[in-house]
Each structure stands twice: as C-alpha cells, then as structure tokens.
C-alpha cells in the first residue's frame, strides 16, 4: 500500500498516511485527485479503480471515505478488509466511532493505524493484539513512573 487517506463527503481530509516518500506537491496532487475521483463516483459502484499505475480501493463508512492506493501486486479485496479492520479497531477503541472522534483525537487515529500497518504492510491482524497494545499505552501514561522503576524483563 502506498498511502491511506480518510476524507469526509465534503472532501475535508481527516487523516493522511504515506507509506512511500512523496513530496508535498505530489501529496497535494494525490489528495486532490483522490477526493475528486472518489467523491464523484455514483453509489453502489465497485470499490476499485485504476489511477495512473496504482489501484485505488475505497469504501465509505458513514460520513467518511477510506481510500487506499495500492501497488500492482496488492490484493484489492483484502485491502478492502484492511480498511474494514481499521474501522473495527477505531470502533473498538472509541466505542461506536464517528467522524468527530477522529477529528478530536486525530493523534489516536494515527497511533491505532501504526499498531496495525507499517510501511504499508499489515503488521498485526489480530484485533485483540492491537487493542491490547493501545490500552496498554493509555494506562502507561499514569503508571510510567512505576513502570520505569520495574526491571524491564
């Protein structure tokens, strides 16, 4: 996967993750093209399209579009499930996640994504494992002092 974008129906970008180095110009271009292409698609179209040399996979969840740019060898259907799994993870963490959660806790949305994907590849597919590490992180802030004083292993 080359990039993952979350944007609203109005085309407002909510999250951008780049798994390959893009210049700012390229990023702007990708964002503009993606929002234009995807938002223009009629409902119940297929979830895939070709854009330059990339396969684009997108899916709408409530008011948010999740849109990923894939390389030629990536599997479209499974990437659709990557998006779904990410939504599930957000949902598990926030509890009935909505766009506002992602706006107000954008940093958490990035952290959750990092637990799940790295360099554009799926790192951990177990929902439990991801959720556990997120919750650990949340408790860590209170108990870090305590944690640090413990022997590491």
């Amino acid at each position: 996967m080359r990039f993952l974008l979350l944007f609203s129906r109005q085309g407002k970008l909510r999250l951008q993750k780049w798994f390959k180095t893009y210049t700012d110009r390229e990023k702007k271009k990708v964002i503009r093209d993606m929002t234009m292409l995807v938002l223009a698609r009629p409902p119940r179209s297929c979830n895939f399209l070709q854009w330059r040399d990339l396969k684009i996979v997108y899916k709408r969840y409530a008011s948010l579009y999740f849109c990923a740019g894939l390389e030629a060898q990536d599997n479209e259907l499974l990437s659709l499930e990557v998006l779904h799994r990410y939504v599930e993870l957000l949902d598990r963490y926030f509890g009935n996640v909505c766009e506002l959660d992602i706006i107000f806790n954008f940093e958490k949305a990035y952290f959750i994504l990092d637990e799940f994907l790295m360099g554009g590849e799926v790192m951990e597919t177990s929902k439990a494992a991801v959720v556990v590490s997120m919750e650990e992180a949340d408790t860590l802030q209170e108990t870090m002092e305590e944690y640090m004083s413990k022997p590491a292993y």
């Binding site: 970008l13 951008q16 798994f19 390959k20 180095t21 698609r41 009629p42 119940r44 179209s45 297929c46 979830n47 895939f48 399209l49 070709q50 040399d53 060898q73 599997n75 479209e76 259907l77 499974l78 659709l80 499930e81 779904h84 799994r85 963490y93 926030f94 509890g95 909505c98 506002l100 959660d101 706006i103 107000f104 806790n105 954008f106 940093e107 958490k108 990035y110 952290f111 990092d114 790295m118 360099g119 590849e121 799926v122 790192m123 951990e124 597919t125 177990s126 929902k127 439990a128 494992a129 590490s133 650990e136 992180a137 949340d138 860590l140 802030q141 870090m144 640090m148 590491a152 292993y153």
Partner: protein, 984 residues
C-alpha cells in the same frame, strides 16, 4: 467512554479544535490559527521552562494545524525534546510529529537519530516499537544509513519480544525499499527465512512481507522459503475456521497470512521437489473447492476475505502457467464471477482474466466468455468495470474473433466515457491492423474510427493507415473510393480531411474514371474543407493539390487559380505561403516530365513496428504491452506491409521529400525520417542531384528502425566503481597478470576524444589519467599523465601499449619508454608516446595499466584515443569543387551513411566546434541548405592520402541527423561514420 476525548485528553487541544470547527469562513480559520501560532511561539520562546504536558499539547496543536494544510516552521526542537521524555505519551506525540513533519535539517536529524538509538537500546519493547515506527514512517536514506545494520540484529535476536520483531521486520522492509544497498542480509538470511516457522502468527505475517521483497531481488538466497511457505499454507488451509482464534477473520482462517504466502510463492517457479509440489497443488485445489461451498457467514467481510485468497491462488496458478487442470478450473471460477451480483467480483474477474488470456492453456477457455464480456462492456453501470471489460476484449482478441470484437469496441466508442476514448481508439487501431486479412475491412475500420471519435485519433493512427495503404497495391483503389465517400459527409473530422488529402493526392486517379468522382469533383470536395482546417492540414492539402496537377493535367488551371489567390500566396503563415509560391512555380515552370518525376508515387514505407503500439505503450507505461505482443505485432505487421524487398526508388523518395514537406513527410517515419530541412522545389536540380546520389537512405533507415525493440532489451549498464570491481576480483580469483579486457566504458571514453585532443581520459577512486596530444601530418605525440589519487604508494606500476592487428599488418607505430614503477601517494607521473600512422586503421591502440595498491593487483585496459581523424589535414574548397568531387566518389562502397537521433544539443556553435575539432575544414556556402554542414579533409598516412568529404544534415524538428561520408577509401568512410555518429 467519552466521545470527544480519550486517554490523556488534552483539554486545550479539544478547545482549539472546536474553535477551528466553529469558524464560519476560511479567513476566520486562518485568523484563529495565526493567533494560536503566536501563542505557541511565545510559550516556546518564554523564559519559563515548559513542563512535558504543555510541550506535548502545543506540539500536538502544531501537528493539527499542519494537517489542516498550513505550513509549520517551528516546534521541531520541542518535538525532538519530547522524544527523550520517559513519559510514553509525550514520546509518542514527539515521534508522531517527527514522522509527519520531518525535514532534512541535519542538526535535527542527528538529534532524532540519537533519541531513536537510545530507545532502540532501551530494551523497553514499547519504546523500541515507537522508534522503529518512526524509522519506517520517515524511511529516509539518512535513517537507513544510521540503522540498517542494527535492525536485522533486533529482528533475529532470541530475546526480542514478538511485537518488536514484527515492527523490526516491516521497518527493515521499508528501509530496503528506499535504500536496498544499505540493507545487507548476508549472515541473517537463513534466520530471517525461518521466521516463517515462528509460533506467533503476527510475527510470520510481518516477516513474510520482508521475505517476499528480499526474494524478489535475491531469489536464490531465499529459495528455502518455498517449502516452508508451502507447509505453513497447507496448515492454514486445512485448519478449521476456529482453530486460529484471533487470526480468524469472519470465519476465514488467517486471510492476510494466506495471501502473503501465496504472493511469496509467486516469486518462484513451481517447486521442483515432487512432494512439496503435490502439497501445494492440494492447497490450491482446496482453495478452489472452498469457493463452491456455501458461505459460513452472510457478511461481506467473510466473502471478501475468502475470495481474496481465491484470487491470490488464481494469480499463482496463472504465474505457474503449467497446470492445465488448475488453469481451466481457475478460468471457470472467474467465469462464474463474471456474472456475480457483486460488482467488485466482476471487476476483479475481468482483471484476472486479462492475464489468463495470454496463457496458451487457457486462451481458448477465456474466449468462451466473449458474449458475457461484450455484455459487460455494454451494460455495466460503472465506468471502471467497463474499462476492464474493454481491456479483456483486447487481450482475448485473435484472428477468429477480431471482427466481432472490433465491431463491438467501435460501437461502444460512440458512447464511451471520455476518459477512456483515446486508449480505446489505439486498441481498435492495433487490433484492426494486427488481424486484418482483408484490407478493405481495415480501411473501413480506421475511417469509422475517425468518424466516430476523430478527436481521439492521434497522429500515429492516421499515419499508420496511410503507410499501409501505400504499401498495399490491392487496397489503394478501395481506400480512395471509401475516403471520397466519407468526405462527402457535411461535417467531417479534420483527421478525415488529412487522410483524404493524402490518399486522393496519391491514388485519386484510381477512381477518376467514374464521373461522380472525376478529378474536378475530387478537387472541389477537398477544397470545400480547406477553409475549415488548421494550418498543418491546409499545408497537406496544398501538397495534395500539386499532386493533382501531376495526376490530372485538366485540373491545372483551376488549381493554379487557387494557389495564385492572395489568401494562399500572401498567407501570413510562412509555411503555407512558401508552399503556395513554390507549387505555383513548379507547376508553371517545370515540364510534365520533371513534374512527373518530382511527384512520383510514394515508394513503400520500410517495414517497421507500428507506431501506434509504441504510443499505447507510452500511454500505459512500460510493461503494459507484453514483449510477445510486440514481437507478434512486428511479425504480423511485416506481413501486412507487404514484401518491401523492392528497394525504394531513391529519386522518387527525394522528390516526394521535396514536394511534400513537414506534415506529410513525417509519415516517412516518426523516428527515422530523412531530414527534410532542404528547402523544397526551389532548390532546383542541384538538390535533387545530391539527394539522388545520397544512396541507400531507406535501407539504413530501416536498419535503424528496430530501435524500439533494442531499447527494450538493452540492459542498462551499471557503473560499478572500478575499485570495487578490482578488489572483488582479488577476493574471488587470483589476480591475473594478463592484461585485462578493455573496460566496458572504454569505447565511450574513446568517443569523448574524437573531436578534442586534451582532457581527462579516465578516473576512478585510485587513479586519474590525463591526456595532451598533438598531431602533424601522419605523426602524433601524446602525453599521458597518471595521477595517484590516494595517499598510498602504487607499486609495480607498468603500462603497455598494444596496437590491434600489429602482428599481421602494422597500421600504427607507437613508441614509448617505460614509466617509473613507483607512484607516490598524491603524485603524478608522465609518459610520452610517439605515434606514426602507417596506413588507415579502425581499431584504437590499447593501453594496459597494472599496479599494486595495498597488495591488490589493479589491472585495467583502456582504448587510447588515437582515431583515424587525428591525421586529417583540412582542405578548403569552393562549392563547385566540392560537388564535383562528391560526384566522383560515387561508388556505393565509398559512401557511408547513418541516420541517427541527436544525443546532444543541436546548437550551431557546438556543432561547428565539434566539426572543427574533427580536423577537417568546415566549408561555408557550399550546401544549398544553410542548415547543413559540409567538411573536407585529407587523411595523411605514411603510405597514402585519403580524401574525405562529409555532409551532416540536422533536422531540428525531428531531433535527428543524417550523416554522409564519402572517402577515396571505403574502410575510412565506414570508420569515420561510426566515430562521428557518436558525437552529435
């Protein structure tokens, strides 16, 4: 749980975000942001040291502002400070900021790398993961340089936590993708491969991505992964849906891991080991079988995951392309999907079938679905699905169904989405040509194409139809008739006018017998379109008109009338005006014979790759058109172009060159056009003369022409440094005392010195060789300067000069004294060579250099830049003399000619300098075309003198040159031509 703020909620941040959301306008938002930026700036600059929480909050606000699309030019330092906090969330925000907003400030990078280093060695798994994430997110070369050697260690260490291993594997993958040269697996290879056996599914999932990428680059080193992958896959495929607990996704066991395993196997050919292969085939069959079972869940996630594995398995089957059974089953499965109610599956089935269509085992099976695919093209609501259907039709097309497919594509074009029209046009044009048995069908198809989608018909397409009509006698009459009819439509596309103008100009006589298409009717029809056309089309029509005068003398008066009117002869466009004037003159001065010679029918075009295919390739990027397809087309294209063994009549070629400049002359070849710079007709007989003597222009163009394929196959040369090469040699094999073979770049180095005498001949990390040389008559003196670039002494430094062919028939006599065997670090030594040219020669003398550097023998051979042109004496002569001599040197073997693409600037001054550097006299006012260059000189050898004449014709528009050499000795023409073709 609170909806707005979770975990360590930062109230200030939440307030700021809602403020921004409440802004009514962009201006208000910017105002609010500027206020916040000022606030943060003052906090950061303030005297009071900020506590960790505040720092985190402000950094987070900056991040938010940046993600809104505003520039952030401060705060980096504070973010870096957060990295060294021992509070997890502070560190986390610091890393997030760095990942999103990294800049190449070197001071900062050093600090960041330091913090990462500390975290990596902290043995605290959460900190290690944060650091690894940051490296992967940034993924820069600096990061790779700092950590590429450390991460493999973490990955395979026995005591690394699973979560860290996962991060390390993917982090390494990211670094490998950006800087493969820095990630050296070497000793870790087998331990990395064995991660496939890891107990922890998450570790396997992460590691396999790394292994797949490494296998693609070094398949041999990683090939043990095949059997491991097969057994892992087999265990997953045969497990029940609940066996893998949390790695089961909607009742599908480990879909991500399964797909990645199948993807890894696609890096390799089918396993050779019978048992492994048997097991794999069993897995693939199980996957295909499962597709037929009733679903375990109605959820789309279940079917997506299951079908993802199925598609990946089909990809593997197609990749192996060796199991007819599986291929046919795969094809049937995809056939089912073609009619599935899920649009996604129809899309993917069309896509996969495209690759399946190229397999010989399944091509026929794919073809059975033609009706479904045509139906998809007609009825799918979604343009991206229709696009896939068009792609598949293109892929499944062959002789048996070409007419049907082309007809369907044509009718689809009438309503096709604008975004895919141009590509569709190219595809129709290619198929029509490739599978044309009956050329009237081909002509009909292309004219239809122009009628339906004229705007999307690129030049290549109409050039091609003309090339084919010219080369096929049997279709010319039909083409003339059809295009004449097509032009009668009240509104017809300009491309149709172009084709019409060209075809009627050439073959209008074939239909002139019919009173309905008599010469004047044809002319009036063409001319009725004239005023609606653009300048290039009008230019083409003017050329058609002069051809009409030749074909049909009865139209002469009418056409001259047209040419004479002010709108032509005084047209503000130079090209049109020039043509009108010249054609008018040509038609009134020249006798019928001259006119007939000048305007003779076009000779057949040399056989060449279809320019349309090249265009499609360019459009879709490399790899879009397979090589087999290319060769296929070349073969069939040849058939279609007809036997072109009849050598083109050069005088006709020259004449048509002169009579039909630019747009139509482009037809001669997009790549290998003979330069058309010469001013048409007005240049008179001299020009025709020169051209007609210019010999076999067309054959050499044809030879040039397979450039497309050559370009594809030519391996790009790696410019390994010599040092590496040398030491590598000494590691693997005992150093040889024999002179090494000339360096691969020796010819390129030599070519740099053809037009100059002084400069640096060669340089690597150790050695620099400079040259100064001077020549008089048949003698030369060359000074070689060997510089030691290191601080270490070179020992046993010896140089040897050898002349190829010296044993049999000495061509050159080179004398020198041995050099000092020791070259101190930083020192330079000099060697003088005395050179005598005995007779003309082609091969350059070789210079072998051997020395020991730190014990290792360095052995390299270069070509000495002594080339035949060094012995030139310039000869000045007047135009008349030049052409007289030129004619005298008229035996075919005395001439060498090359048409080639410009590799350097075509600037006049640069060209002049090069030609003077060549050693010849550059003659002004000789060539009738001031754009051309002519030179003359005599090569002095001991035995004889060789007179040489040179003519260089640049075509700036096509970025091409035609170079012609005529020398009194044939081997000299040939050699000079080779040497010079590399210079411009």
């Amino acid at each position: 749980m609170p909806a707005v703020s979770k975990g360590d909620g930062m109230r200030g941040l939440a307030v700021f975000i809602s403020d921004i959301r409440n802004c009514k306008s962009k201006e208000a938002e910017i105002k609010r942001i500027n206020k916040e930026l000022a606030n943060i700036r003052s906090k950061f600059k303030g005297d009071k040291a900020l506590d960790g929480y505040s720092k985190k909050k402000y950094v987070c606000k900056l991040l938010f502002i940046f993600l809104l699309g505003h520039d952030i030019d401060f705060g980096h330092m504070e973010a870096v400070n957060l990295l060294s906090s021992n509070k997890y969330t502070e560190k986390q925000i610091g890393y997030l900021f760095i990942s999103v907003l990294v800049n190449s400030n070197s001071e900062l990078i050093r600090l960041i790398n330091n913090a990462i280093k500390n975290d990596l060695s902290s043995r605290n798994p959460t900190f290690m993961c944060l650091a690894l994430h940051c490296i992967a997110n940034v993924g820069s070369r600096e990061m790779a340089e700092a950590f590429a050697s450390e991460i493999p260690r973490i990955l395979v260490a026995g005591d690394t936590m699973d979560s860290v291993k996962q991060s390390a594997a993917l982090c390494l993958l990211r670094l490998y993708k950006t800087s493969p040269d820095l990630v050296l697996m070497g000793e870790w290879t087998s331990r990395v491969v064995h991660l496939l056996n890891d107990q922890h599914m998450g570790v396997v999932t992460a590691a396999i991505s790394l292994i797949t990428c490494l296998s693609q680059k070094n398949p041999d080193e990683f090939k043990t992964c095949v059997s491991l992958a097969v057994s892992r896959l087999s265990r997953i495929v045969s497990s029940a849906s609940t066996d893998l607990q949390d790695y089961t996704y909607y009742f599908v066991p480990a879909p991500w891991l399964s797909c990645k395993l199948l993807r890894l196997l696609q890096c390799y050919p089918p396993p050779e080991d019978g048992a492994v292969k048997g097991r794999l085939v069993e897995c693939l069959e199980t996957i295909l079988n499962k597709a037929q079972e009733p679903p375990k869940s109605k959820k789309v996630q279940h079917s997506n995951a299951k079908n993802a594995i199925l598609f990946e398995a089909i990809s593997l089957i197609i990749h192996y392309d060796s199991e007819p059974n599986l291929l046919v089953r795969a094809c049937n499965q995809l056939g089912q999907f073609l009619q599935h109610r899920e649009t996604n599956l129809r899309y993917l089935a069309l896509e996969s079938m495209c690759t399946l269509a190229s397999s010989e085992f399944s091509h026929e099976a794919v073809k059975t679905h033609i009706e479904t695919v045509i139906n998809a093209l007609k009825t799918e609501r979604d343009v991206s699905v229709r696009q896939r259907a068009a792609d598949l039709l293109y892929a499944m097309c062959d002789r048996s169904n070409a007419k049907q497919i082309v007809a369907e594509m044509l009718s689809y074009l009438e309503t096709a989405d604008y975004s895919i029209r141009e590509e569709m046009v190219l595809k129709v044009a290619i198929l029509a040509e490739k599978y044309a048995v009956d050329y009237s069908w081909y002509v009909d198809t292309i004219l239809n194409l122009i009628r339906i989608a004229g705007d999307y018909v690129s030049e290549e397409v109409w050039y091609r139809v003309i090339q084919i009509v010219i080369n096929r006698d049997d279709v010319q009459g039909y083409a003339a008739k059809t295009v004449f009819e097509a032009l009668q439509a009240p509104a017809c596309h300009e491309n149709m006018v172009k084709v019409g103008g060209y075809i009627l100009g050439e073959f209008g006589n074939l239909i002139a017998g019919d009173p309905r298409s008599s010469p004047l009717v044809q002319f009036n029809l063409l001319h009725s379109k004239f005023h609606l056309c653009s300048v290039p089309t009008r230019a083409l029509l003017l050329s058609a008109y002069i051809k009409f005068i030749n074909l049909f003398p009865e139209t002469k008066a009418t056409i001259q009338e047209v040419l004479r009117c002010d709108s032509q002869i005084r047209n503000s466009d130079v090209e049109l005006q020039q043509r009108a004037v010249e054609y008018l003159k040509l038609s009134s001065i020249a006798s019928t014979d001259v006119l007939a010679t000048v305007l003779e029918e076009m000779p057949p075009f040399p056989e060449r790759e279809s320019s349309i295919l090249a265009k499609l390739k360019k459009k879709k990027g490399p790899g879009a058109v397979s090589v087999t397809e290319l060769e296929d087309n070349k073969r069939e294209g040849g058939e279609l172009n007809g036997g072109s063994d009849r050598g083109p009549d050069t005088s006709a070629m020259a004449a048509s060159n002169a009579s039909t400049p630019s747009p139509s002359a482009d037809l001669l070849g997009i790549r290998s056009a003979a330069p058309v710079g010469a001013a048409p007709a007005s240049a008179g007989s001299l020009l025709v003369d020169v051209f007609s003597e210019a010999g076999p222009a067309a054959p050499s163009a044809a030879v040039n022409d397979d450039g497309f394929l050559r370009d594809l196959e030519q391996p790009t040369e790696t410019s390994d440094s010599l040092l590496v090469e040398g030491s590598g040699d000494s590691d693997s094999a005992p150093p040889s005392e024999d002179p090494a073979a000339p360096l691969p770049e020796a010819d390129d180095l030599l070519n740099k010195f053809v037009c100059k005498n002084n400069g640096v001949l060669f340089e690597n990390q150790l050695l620099q060789i400079g040259i100064k040389s001077e020549y008089r008559q048949n003698l030369g003196r060359m000074y070689l300067f060997y510089g030691n670039k290191t601080s270490v002494q070179f020992a046993s430094f010896t140089t040897t000069v050898s002349c190829p062919g010296e044993l049999h028939r000495p061509q050159l006599n080179v004398q020198t004294k041995p050099v000092e065997p020791l070259v101190e670090g930083g020192a330079q030594i000099q060697q003088v060579l005395n050179i005598e040219c005995l007779t003309d020669f082609s091969e350059a003398p070789l210079l072998n250099i051997k020395f020991r550097y730190g014990g290792a023998l360095q052995n390299l051979t270069l070509k000495l830049p002594v080339t035949i042109n060094k012995f030139f004496q310039p000869t000045e002569m007047a135009s008349q003399d030049f052409f007289q001599r030129w004619k005298q040197l008229s035996q075919p073997q005395q001439e060498a000619q090359k048409i080639f693409k410009a590799n350097h600037s075509m600037d006049t001054e640069v060209l002049k300098a090069k030609l003077l550097g060549l050693g010849t006299a550059l003659l002004d006012n000789v060539d009738p075309n001031p754009e051309n260059y002519v030179c003359a000189g005599v090569i002095q050898t001991k035995g004889q003198q060789v007179g040489c004449l040179l003519r260089l014709e640049p075509n700036a528009q096509a970025q091409m040159y035609r170079l012609t050499l005529r020398c009194s000795k044939d081997s000299v023409s040939k050699r000079l031509c080779e040497l010079l073709a590399e210079q411009f």
